[in-house]
């Protein structure tokens, strides 16, 4: 009997106290969700936000950050690796220093005008600051946006349209490269040149080749202004071999195509 009254006392006290605490929390939660108080707002963060933090850099390691569009992401590669992961694999075999893919920030459908504002994002700046190799792939969607799902010649951009996109997007590319150097002046910047995915479409072979060549020339001129920056050409790979290196969507490279691009990137890195 004594044991049972002890149990009763314990159970009743603990449950009553717990219930009171829960009720208080419940009331506070209602208040907080329905009438969020502006006074507890935190505008600057605990210590000035992420911009005041510097990532740890390690010169003994090759730390890679990839940036840009679906090519950086690896769309079209059945293994999902893309040229980024494949480059890392090649480098891991060749280089003595450990090679690490820190971030792959490639987003499907990314264009130059989408990438430029995202470089102001502090999270992206933080990732870039920690890298010593930056792989950049951008511009394909600026030139061929909308054309990638079209198999017929209808809806394909005309030569004039292509020329206009090259002009507009290359200005953005210049701003992107300037910004990247501002964020991290010490990293090697590798820009993956464009190829013409439509060499097998009669109406697009010549205008597409012309536009891509003009784009690549402009890109090279931009990159040449900085040390440790280069364009890795891919145009020649796909001109005659689009059936061999392109995936089923006739736009993105397949695994073999990405492997070729990766080999080239690895050859050019010191």
């Amino acid at each position: 009997m004594r044991a049972s009254s002890w149990t009763w006392r314990l159970v009743s006290w603990v449950s009553v106290v717990a219930t009171l605490v829960f009720v208080a929390g419940f009331i506070y939660a209602i208040k907080d969700v329905l009438y969020p108080s502006a006074s507890s707002k935190w505008s600057s963060g605990p210590a000035g936000g992420i911009s005041s933090v510097t990532p740890q850099t390690n010169d003994k390691e090759i730390q890679i950050v990839a940036l840009g569009d679906s090519l950086a992401k690896g769309t079209g590669d059945d293994t999902g690796e893309g040229f980024v992961r494949r480059t890392v694999n090649v480098l891991q075999k060749e280089q003595k220093a450990p090679v690490k893919l820190v971030n792959n920030l490639g987003v499907n459908g990314m264009t130059t005008s989408g990438l430029l504002p995202s470089l102001n994002e502090q999270g992206i700046q933080y990732a870039l600051k920690g890298a010593n190799v930056i792989l950049l792939s951008i511009g394909g969607n600026d030139l061929f946006q909308g054309a990638q799902n079209i198999q017929s010649s209808k809806g394909l951009p005309t030569a004039a349209e292509l020329e206009a996109s090259v002009k507009k997007a290359s200005m953005k590319l210049r701003q992107i490269v300037v910004k990247l150097h501002e964020i991290n002046p010490n990293a090697q910047l590798v820009y993956v040149g464009l190829y013409n995915p439509f060499t097998d479409v009669v109406d697009m072979r010549i205008p597409g080749n012309d536009a891509v060549t003009s784009w690549n020339t402009k890109a090279t001129a931009i990159m040449n202004q900085y040390s440790q920056s280069k364009v890795v050409p891919t145009f020649d790979l796909f001109v005659e071999n689009s059936s061999k290196y392109l995936s089923d969507d006739h736009f993105h490279p397949n695994g073999a195509g990405y492997e070729q691009i990766a080999q080239r990137i690895a050859q050019g890195l010191k």
């Binding site: 449950s15 209602i30 933090v53 390690n58 820190v102 499907n108």
Partner: protein
């Protein structure tokens, strides 16, 4: 009141004798270490991948979600979750606050969040489902009702004992989760800021109401909301226990409706009147973290009112049936 307290004491002791509560504790003691272990593994792989830098891991998670937004195969309603997740993570990143700061407190917060809709209600059913029906199946109900006490008092004392155990179960889930995860992740983290107040406006995330709350306060609010959900589930199980003669049937009915709730929330966006069902409204902690409600037009106020109505109706039915019904055989 004088005649009630001994009755409540009697019911409480009966509940302890039945040892259901110990089963609940045992379930928690077995399951929580499993979750802790899984969480530990995740933390380990993240450390290897991102140089133990949570900022890089979060940034990668943002990109991964952005990519899934582009995919045409992802249903629209799932995209809503991703959009809000991306905005939240960007906000955490910009303010340099780790949303997954490893620690016993963060683990507990995450665990309680996930346990709120199904796990804790299941534990509560373990004690609630047979509270009346077992008296009937063993025949002890006749002994109980032949005593010179009014019927509603008998039922009321059972209800109070049940509500006491609901509080005990929610408390034990919290305490056990904190104590066990603390062994691995450390016991710190009560003062880490957590952001609350994200709102979805169409496809944009409204950040105007976002404010930081220390984690202990967040946990307190979370526990309060979970407690309310648990009370509702307990009262509904209580009603079923009054209405149904067999304990097994009463457990099955409650389990089925709870599980139906989780299925419905995943596909109910087309059938909007589902929002009046209690089981769709159990995820109150969502309103705290800012995850979008499963059905358009659901708010914290709405869910609370729906749950309160269901609970009130269940109480009314339980008491009317119990006081009027004939006890045969």
């Amino acid at each position: 009141m004088n005649s009630l307290l001994p009755l409540i004491k009697n019911e409480t002791l009966k509940m302890m004798k039945k040892k259901r509560f110990y089963v609940v504790l045992l379930v928690l003691l077995i399951l929580v270490p499993i979750f802790v272990y899984a969480q530990m593994k995740i933390a380990e792989t993240n450390r290897e991948k991102f140089n133990s830098d949570w900022r890089l891991a979060i940034r990668q998670a943002i990109t991964d979600n952005q990519n899934s937004l582009q995919s045409a195969r992802v249903p629209e309603e799932w995209k809503k979750y991703r959009i809000i997740y991306i905005q939240q993570m960007k906000y955490y990143l910009e303010h340099d606050v780790n949303p997954q700061e490893p620690g016993g407190v963060s683990f507990t917060r995450e665990f309680m969040d996930n346990a709120a809709t199904l796990f804790i209600p299941l534990l509560i059913m373990a004690v609630a489902s047979d509270i009346v029906s077992s008296e009937r199946s063993t025949g002890t109900i006749k002994m109980l009702l032949t005593r010179p006490v009014r019927r509603w008092k008998v039922l009321f004392s059972k209800l109070i004992a049940l509500l006491m155990f609901v509080s005990l179960i929610v408390l034990s889930a919290f305490v056990i989760s904190y104590l066990i995860s603390g062994l691995v992740f450390g016991y710190k983290g009560f003062s880490i800021p957590v952001f609350s107040g994200f709102q979805l406006n169409g496809s944009d995330v409204d950040l105007s109401a976002v404010h930081a709350v220390p984690q202990w306060l967040y946990l307190l609010m979370q526990l309060g909301l979970i407690w309310f959900v648990s009370i509702t589930v307990a009262i509904l199980a209580f009603m079923v226990s009054v209405l149904v003669r067999s304990t097994a049937a009463s457990i099955v009915i409650m389990m089925a409706s709870l599980i139906a709730g989780t299925i419905l929330t995943n596909m109910a966006s087309a059938w909007t009147s589902a929002k009046y069902l209690f089981m769709v409204n159990l995820d109150l902690t969502n309103y705290l973290s800012g995850s979008p409600a499963p059905i358009e037009g659901m708010t914290l106020g709405f869910s609370l009112i729906i749950l309160a109505i269901w609970a009130a109706v269940a109480l009314f039915i339980s008491f009317t049936v119990f006081t009027k019904q004939d006890i045969l055989n």
